[in-house]
Subunit: 344 residues, 4 copies
């Protein structure tokens, strides 16, 4: 198969830039267009200095070329308003926003404000390949899962699949995320002087990613904290199962779920990094999961770590596109992260 | 009252250095001796560069001068072995280790290894002044509370005092701490290249500070994570009360508990720092507490933030000594932190 | 002497907040007014979370109360336009901007854009007390020196005073600064995601602080780099003296210059911090200076380190006010920094 | 051509791990052996968590298999003592230490302590491909250039090649480096609590990399500073040319030198990253160079940025091996860095 053409809409944002990076190194895609109204005609390297060596300029989002795949890395609410133009331009659309992640208008309205094109909600395929792989081949509208939801679902999924949990248990998800989750731009709260070194709770309750988690697993008590890193989402799940569980049970569940998954590593390490660590997967599409038992409190503690911009966004989108289009799943994504590395 | 003389044993460590900083600026204390076997005869500024302007040298810990107060900032297990020498040298001893924090040998053995002088466990006064203020005046052996226990107890105390909680509830404590908790020295795991930017779970279950929390409040499910800061402990408590509670109830409880406390601030801010933030209290003896309700999960989320080396250690020790010796509580501790500030 | 009243104009900015912190802990000043148009009637703790415990609200800058001292922490260009109102409100004005730092309109026009009140340029006293102490008592308009200029001048001053340098030598000043130099506000370049971890050259040539350095010492080749800290300015001066110089000569020059200075420490340490280190003075008014010889290149390397917001701004302003008003020089400034501490 | 087998000696260190990462993703190499005495039989992922997905265990360095290429990532002084064993095991040796970088025993003795196998100094080929490309094909003993030397030489090379400089000028090199330069292991000085946030001068004069720079360009005045990043070396060169030079001259020199180089980017950007930035090349083999003129001081300021572990070490080694063995130069190295990214 020859290469397919791809457009990135919203290419000057953080996830847009990440898509460009991945597509530039992907053996099956060729970038046709990278749109940005603000930076029209500027080189992509002006905004994304890592791509200074790539010869490409932003174009206006108004004239979309006809391509095979369109990736939309626009803020929430934009894709639903441009879905007709997107569909006219491309056969396959991978949307990275929250616009098409939920199944029904009712769900959407509970967490977001009125959907302008609710008829697409049932058509779109939620892309967290470890969860929805079989729905992806041939999908025409793909909604890449959210970063915090991805970290949480990957951590909990084996317990649900194995029947250790059934959704009636108390499950607390305490997430720590990097500043790239806030996107490019930034105001006072995200300035270096204010944002450095924080442990800043945000959305202590009612975080919108709860909707995605509930859609697949059931209700959880979710709280996110901003900590001093740029990339990364680390979820710690505190779970109180109804029945006693052993470490052997847990190993069984995680091995069963993930031993064949190309992008999920169950961590049982010794050494410095005994548990999932966002640094270890930064810049990559890998997720790490791990767990521990707290016998005195009858608690399971599950840890999961991803790069929010990769496995939690652009990497997930490419992974889903690979499956949708019949490429090898790992095409363009099979590279490792760095060690040592700081707060990547 | 004229000044009292004070010795710091273990003065080359992080908390030892913090005690020196506080004593050097304290209106009622004069430093008599700062002991360090490793750095004997070196200036304290060689180890603590912030104190390069203070004219003082380390002396060997073998010849303790007779002083009014002795602060022991030694690793766990040292103070119990030297308690006789400490008592011979000083009328008042403030120990910053875990040696005398628990009430009984049974408790101690459950969490640590065999106590060599268990007869002191019932004599010593646990110092978290907001909890044990009335026991401190005249106390001769004071055990300053642990950092994670202090952050947790300060967050939860108003709920217990007010009767909103009685210890039968599910309470999860998810703590984020800085690298100074590991103390001076450092091996591979705490090297800059490895430790920077981590979200590293440690002691996911069975953390020894649970013992202190349980001693006063009841059992909690405790997990700590190392994040990229040097000073700071931030506790997020996820609580599922037996009965419904309103925000007004919570405000009542926290105001009642802390409105007169000189070192606890209940945070209800707008702006960038809406919740307790370790950066805002770094270098100070202040603690910040705050809370939020999650109605859909019937959950209370409590946040608390301290500087682990100050309110969680050296500051707490000085605060306790002030009370024990009849000084003004805030003597030598009434200074504010910095803004902006990074990962302090 | 009873306390004097003080107003801070521009109190919601970084240096304004630092002035509030220092004044709140100063034994001789009482804060009368803290102005901010944007945050009028909000508590100062909403903007400066370190001051959440201080009961004070911002007021509009339009109605200045009559006070003893007015500190202006406004952007460059504001003080010159409001100098009449400032003088009507206060007998002593300490301006932290660049408006009154240069001696003549000609100098000013060379580096900045047209001065609206050039007649004040010859009246004002430049405040770097180690350099201009004798001009400060009784001064009515004080221009606190700039941060990079302060770091540079303190490093080089002993060499000029001692006659080792006379201004004809090649002197290169390579400065590394923290993000607080950019002030509150932010924008893309100063967002956490972009600004973290950089070594970003800025103003490689033609930095305006050269004007202040030249005014006192002579021309230097100045280049600044933004690095990953919030507070701090570290200057490395590479100097090629006309005549050979020994380490003994250098020690003589620095001791002569600084041994009696309350806020300058000449560092000759062993241990981890052998040279001046901004971390060691963060949050304080201290400066550290040190040096090394490079015999094979006939070069002197001088290092100096300050907290740009303290010795390089607010601390310098208070220090100057103390001298101008006849207080003890160190009043309200005699506290030490922290150890360990991160990127403060 | 089928793949060649490769061994990494010293594979548990930072550069050893980086070689493993690169070889694992290289289309032409297959890892035969990764040696580490300390971690014998442990998985490489235990030490390098980014490689947890790679199925490989450390073996003892005593029994070297016969391979095509051996990469030695051992501390200075080790390779010279094991060169016979290395040559017995492999036809091509790429050494990443300083053992074979200098041309003569005299040079070596000036900067290091006695060489045990000086006869190899004239045989080995110094590998900074932009400088010594033509010597590499078929080379059997390759000495990969040092990180600080690489950053400096790449910055200055066009000026020497073009004749703008001839080595008689005053050239000051002020370098800022990350903590990975210190290697794995750590001690107090490199602990997270001490090393975070520093601007720490080290080797202010007499840095050993001066030897490499002088060997090719001529004498420079070199000073290095540790700053808060993990990877990265950023060199700022302050140069006072004998004759006037224009920006057009500089552009000519840099374009001529680097326009065909696959791994060097001359940066002339607008936007946030106007100059070379180590973040922009972290994790990659790219170098960035840029410059500015300071007319009032008749100074050229040259900036260069690399990842010290890649272009300054492991990437350089692979690049050199590619050339030596007749592979495409960019094989296994043609991937881009990240944006945004923190202190990588």
């Amino acid at each position: 198969m020859s290469t397919l053409t791809a457009t990135v809409v919203g290419a000057s944002g953080f996830t847009g830039g990440e898509l460009l990076r991945l597509l530039a190194g992907h053996p099956k895609f060729e970038i046709a267009q990278a749109t940005s109204r603000q930076y029209e005609r500027k080189t992509i390297g002006r905004v994304h200095p890592n791509l200074r060596g790539v010869d490409l300029r932003f174009s206006a989002p108004d004239d979309l070329e006809s391509v095979d795949v369109l990736f939309a890395a626009t803020p929430h609410g934009v894709s639903m308003d441009h879905i007709d133009a997107f569909q006219e331009a491309a056969d396959t659309i991978v949307d990275l926003s929250a616009d098409f992640r939920l199944d029904s208008e009712g769900q959407y309205d509970e967490w977001y404000d009125g959907h302008t094109r609710p008829e697409f909600l049932s058509e779109s395929v939620y892309a967290l390949p470890e969860l929805t792989r079989e729905d992806l081949p041939g999908a025409e509208l793909i909604a890449a899962g959210g970063c915090n939801a991805t970290a949480t679902i990957l951590g909990l999924l084996p317990l649900f699949e194995d029947g250790i949990l059934d959704g009636t248990e108390q499950t607390i998800v305490d997430v720590k995320v990097g500043s790239s989750e806030g996107g490019a731009g930034g105001g006072t709260a995200s300035s270096h002087a204010e944002r450095s070194g924080v442990v800043r709770p945000y959305a202590p309750a009612g975080h919108r990613h709860e909707a995605e988690i509930e859609q697949f697993l059931g209700p959880v008590s979710f709280t996110a904290h901003a900590v001093d890193m740029i990339r990364g989402a680390s979820a710690t799940c505190h779970i109180f199962p109804n029945d006693p569980v052993t470490k052997r049970d847990l190993w069984g569940a995680y091995r069963e779920q993930y031993d064949e998954e190309p992008f999920v590593r169950t961590v049982a390490g010794g050494g410095v990094y005994r548990y999932p660590e966002p640094k270890a997967v930064a810049g990559t599409n890998y997720a790490e999961v791990g767990f521990e038992l707290d016998p005195s409190n009858k608690r399971i503690i599950v840890f999961s770590a991803i790069d929010n911009m990769m496995k939690g966004s652009a990497g997930q989108a490419i992974h889903a596109a690979n499956i949708a289009l019949g490429f090898e799943e790992t095409a363009g994504l099979a590279f490792q992260g760095l060690h040592p590395v700081g707060a990547p």
